[in-house]
């Protein structure tokens, strides 16, 4: 109990210390910029104005609106990526023929930068929202697919034999054996996918849409509201960190791999 508390206390203190160092560097760099008359207009990039703008944008609901729009696009894109990536990953892991056939096209498509699909997505989909969701999905599907396949490749074939021996139905084989066995790898893939999707989402929102985190940043840049721009960077960083931490918690919860 005591050592657990000490461990938690150490983690909390390093977390706060790390953030304090980042904050200090941020403050110092903008303070240094403010000393020169030629760069003094960038002083509003500093932490003070940024946090003040964050509070103001929370009060007027701009942040909530942007977060909601981006979360919807991110969530929809990830759900599609999971729905497509997990079954295909299982197929890759289970069928040697499918694995061999799909290897070259999938590896080729994986290497296409997700944002380079944007012109095609805009033509194919009726609205910008659908196009951005497509970009998020195409960015997120590969890590999920390959992590699922890798997870399945690690599954001990004897587990299937034992489960059959004990009377498992095909459905129970999936729900009781395959899913728990690969949950760790799938969740690790989703965590990687989330990082990629998050990085694709913001620039994808620079064009076409009138809501979301990317749009709000672009809007702040065009209206020279640098404090608002930095406020959105803080929000993007905090949200990304929170989502990643949630994934990590799920991975720890469903990991059966002995530490």
């Amino acid at each position: 109990m005591g050592s657990r508390f000490a461990g938690l206390s150490y983690s909390a203190s390093t977390f706060v210390a790390g953030l304090a160092i980042l904050l200090g560097l941020w403050w110092f760099s903008t303070w240094a910029l403010s000393l020169s008359p030629s760069t003094s207009q960038f002083a509003s990039f500093g932490p003070g104005p940024a946090f003040k703008a964050t509070w103001m944008m929370l009060e007027n609901g701009h942040i909530q609106k942007a977060v909601w729009s981006s979360s919807y696009r991110l969530g929809a894109g990830l759900v599609i990526a999971i729905a497509v990536g997990v079954p295909i990953g299982i197929l890759i892991g289970r069928s040697r023929r499918f694995r061999e056939l799909s290897n070259s096209p999938f590896q080729l498509m994986r290497m296409i930068s997700p944002l380079s699909w944007e012109p095609i997505a805009v033509i194919v989909f009726a609205g910008w929202d659908a196009a951005i969701i497509f970009l998020v999905a195409i960015a997120a599907v590969w890590p999920i697919m390959f992590a699922t396949a890798a997870g399945l490749a690690k599954v001990d074939p004897s587990w299937f034999k034992v489960a059959r021996n004990l009377g498992a139905s095909p459905r129970q084989m999936v729900t009781e054996i395959i899913i728990p066995a690969i949950a760790f790898d799938v969740l690790t893939g989703i965590r990687l996918a989330l990082g990629v999707a998050w990085m694709v989402l913001v620039p994808a929102e620079f064009l076409g849409v009138r809501s979301g985190l990317g749009y709000t940043i672009e809007d702040a840049r065009e209206s020279l509201e640098y404090d608002h721009l930095m406020a959105m960077l803080v929000v993007i960083g905090a949200m990304g960190y929170a989502l990643d931490s949630a994934c990590l918690t799920l991975i720890k919860r469903y990991s059966w791999h002995k530490q």
């Binding site: 587990w159 021996n165 004990l166 009377g167």
Partner: protein
């Protein structure tokens, strides 16, 4: 637990791994009485492990039939359960969930399932480990969990494919004694495939000696020894020598006793 033994009847069983390949064995016949413990011994490649997989319903024979009383074996069933060389426990489940997984597959009510699991854990002396992560158990304890997972299904026939070969000598010896004792107490049939003559003497009522390719049953020897069987007992040593001679004879070599006399 209400377990009973069955009359095993294997008739004219043949198997080959590929349609053009050599048969693993042909027209194999074997019978066992209810509650009987059989040990199948033989060199690698004689088909004894394949035979066990067919009896378990995990492989389909090319010809012939297997009956347990009046029931024909046509696939896996919780009534004829196999234990493998490695325990193959599900590492994402605690000990009790591993033991009860077959009952979960059969959709048993939670209360009855928990009672049955507790009873099976008591039988294998792991009642204090119900909530333990299986990865934290020793090899012997893991094999006991695998045994409990099989027993909880109340099998009529328990098939053991060299289940103790990866364990240290002390643990192996204790499990051999315990499995036979549980089988005799509950009354189910036991078939063990082993390379270890000592294991056959300690565990079996009858030893079946297989040899050749395709594999054939070369000899069957009653192991009529009282329980508990201790390795150092003269009767056990005598039976061991007899099985060893039959084993060598089946493999086409001079019996060990003659070879040592000649030396």
């Amino acid at each position: 637990m209400s377990i009973r033994g069955v009359r095993l009847n294997i008739q004219d069983l043949s198997y080959r791994y590929s349609s053009r390949g050599e048969p693993t064995f042909t027209e194999l016949n074997l019978q066992a009485a209810p509650g009987e413990c059989l040990a199948i011994i033989g060199r690698s490649g004689c088909g004894k492990s394949t035979l066990l997989h067919i009896i378990a319903g995990l492989l389909k024979p090319a010809a012939g039939s297997i009956h347990l009383d009046d029931t024909r074996v046509e696939g896996p069933s919780p009534k004829w359960v196999m234990m493998f060389q490695a325990p193959h426990l599900f590492p994402w489940m605690k000990v009790s969930r591993n033991v009860g997984v077959g009952l979960k597959f059969a959709k048993w009510p939670e209360k009855e399932k928990n009672d049955r699991v507790a009873e099976a854990l008591r039988l294998v002396e792991l009642q204090d480990y119900a909530d333990t992560n299986v990865q934290d158990l020793s090899g012997g304890q893991q094999q006991r969990v695998a045994l409990a997972r099989s027993l909880v299904m109340e099998p009529e026939l328990l098939l053991l494919d060299e289940p103790f070969s990866a364990l240290d000598a002390f643990t192996r010896s204790s499990l051999q004694r315990d499995v036979r004792s549980i089988a005799k107490r509950l009354g189910f049939n036991l078939i063990i495939v082993t390379h270890d003559i000592d294991e056959a003497v300690i565990m079996a009522d009858r030893a079946v000696i297989m040899a050749g390719a395709p594999g054939k049953i070369k000899d069957e020897i009653e192991v009529a020894l009282p329980d508990p069987r201790q390795r150092e007992d003269a009767a056990v040593q005598g039976m061991r020598a007899r099985l060893m001679d039959a084993f060598h004879k089946a493999a086409g070599k001079p019996p060990a006793s003659e070879a040592s006399a000649a030396a």
